[in-house]
Amino acid sequence: MKALVPVKRVIDYNVKPRVKADGSGVDLANVKMSMNPFDEIAVEEAIRLKEAGKIEEIIAVSIGPAKAQETLRTALAMGADSAILVETDEDVEPLAVAKILKAVAAEVEPGLIVLGKQAIDDDSNQTGQMLAALMDLPQGTFASKVELDGDSVTVTREVDGGLETVKLTLPAIVTTDLRLNEPRYASLPNIMKAKKKPLETKSPADYGVDITPRLKTTNVSEPPVRQAGVKVADVDELVAKLKAMGVA
């Protein structure tokens, strides 16, 4: 069985995003970019399933600019077998991403599609669920445990009140939450080897998908800044403040 793992190139999670003064977006010029952390977890999970003999082949796919090749090479260095870049310089919304992935999946025919629950740039948390809808497949979102067993997958999900477990028929879509695993670092030999693994480049048009945005972003601004308040000297002063607020 094959696993398809979509990955996105995003601003590195350690970088504090700066909003452009003209309100047109976030400044990404000369900013460190990395694989979306939730997607790293997805790649890792697919690799672990392969190491456990439950998956035979892992195909990583990214939709984005030419530089997203670097993100795919990271996935290959971690352990994916081949990669597909659907190249475009446009911002592609989750709905259009899901449509492209559906077309990719029609060619790859994966038994499992594992992807991050959300990308840390637009924080939409939509692509996996949309892909599941378009492919009419079951979805195990926000996974903290994935068990592949014959023709089904059992997914433990992180929900507001705790954990929930669902059983899905295959093929299925799984989206990853933070606790699922800790992604490995690619070793230098594997990074070298990854350069020789196959990476195919396509375009959204190759899949016949219209990526025209449905949402117009009219402004991007800084969130309201919270001002630092006062420091109290000791617990007694804190207690007095709390009492004045009616808390105690």
Binding site: D123, Q129, P138, G161, E164, K167, R214, V232, V235, L238
Partner: protein, 309 residues
């Protein structure tokens, strides 16, 4: 505009998150609610009592007992023939279902809205809340999830909407519910607590967290939260986590103990009305957002605070 709001519930009680979604929907137009579940007529009755609700659609079927997205999405899509916007609270249930509905309707969802700026214009956080985007939909219908802390809750009483039964769309046969481990707690639920006491990595281990944080929380009748660092270190389960990757909270009072204030954590609590921080590192970023800060050793300060309150 006619909106259809997803009612979050456990088949016996409607969750508070629903009321914020109702508030958001009421800014768009007429509010209809959807209660999908199993043996959930009591929820429909609670929903019908919410102020400002025009109608409650009740879909009562075993297939909807656990809100499996595969079963629920076709039901919502059917009802959307007659509605202009699907509005769900941005709970894990809402986030699971809404995009599935959106894709089936060929609509680009607007996630986690903070405000309604116009009939099709909304603000929403991006980059972990480090930026706020104003977005306008060009789709014929809307699919929206609502950040609960950004909207006042609609009144739970005062309404008397009619309850209309909806035919079940059945079981899609692709997924089944195996079980759940839902944390039972006497303490207020985090997203609705008026006061939250939250602990960070400085609490050392699970026993210390329990011994330090819980007595203060009990004294204040507060909910208990934790930073991602404390959760990752195994002091408390994940459902305690406050932050971009955990719960988004905005209580009256948020007491951060031994929490440095990583961006990730601030994203989950910076809309709290009053933030109190206790940390021994006076340069900790948490003090930049705290209304009241106490630079002190938490092992001395917190027991003393608990005793003196």
């Amino acid at each position: 505009m006619k909106t259809l709001v997803w009612v979050e519930h456990d088949n016996s009680n409607m969750a508070d998150a629903t009321l914020a979604a109702v508030s958001a929907a009421s800014k768009l137009g007429e509010v209809h609610l959807l209660v999908a579940g199993s043996g959930c007529r009591a929820v429909a009755e609670q929903a019908a009592a919410v102020a400002g609700v025009g109608k409650v659609h009740l879909a009562d079927d075993a297939a909807f007992a656990n809100a499996l997205a595969e079963n629920v999405a076709p039901l919502v899509v059917g009802l959307m023939a007659d509605h202009d916007a699907f509005v769900a609270p941005a709970t894990t249930t809402g986030k699971n279902i809404a995009p599935r509905v959106a894709a089936l309707l060929d609509v680009m969802q607007i996630s986690d809205i903070l405000s309604v700026e116009g009939e099709k214009t909304f603000t929403r956080p991006i980059y972990a809340g480090n930026a706020i985007a104003t977005v306008e939909s060009t789709d014929a219908k809307l699919v929206i999830t609502v950040r609960g802390t950004a909207f006042d809750k609609a009144e739970a009483t005062g309404g008397s909407a009619a309850i209309e039964d909806v035919a079940s769309t059945g079981d899609a046969g692709k997924s089944s519910f195996v079980g759940a481990e839902i944390a039972e707690s006497e303490r207020p639920e985090l997203t609705s607590a008026k006061i939250i006491v939250s602990g960070g990595r400085a609490l050392k281990d699970a026993e210390t967290f329990e011994a330090t944080i819980m007595p203060l929380a009990d004294k204040l009748g507060a909910g208990v939260g934790a930073s991602r660092a404390a959760v990752d270190a195994g002091y408390v389960p994940n459902d305690y986590q406050v932050g971009q990757t955990g719960k988004i909270v905005a209580p009256e009072v948020y007491i951060a103990i031994g929490i440095s204030g990583a961006i990730q954590h601030l994203a989950g609590m910076k809309d709290s009305k009053t933030i109190i921080a206790i940390n021994k590192d006076e340069d900790a970023p948490i003090f930049q957002v705290a209304d009241i800060g106490l630079v002190a050793d938490l092992y001395k300060a917190v027991p003393e605070l608990t005793e003196k309150l």
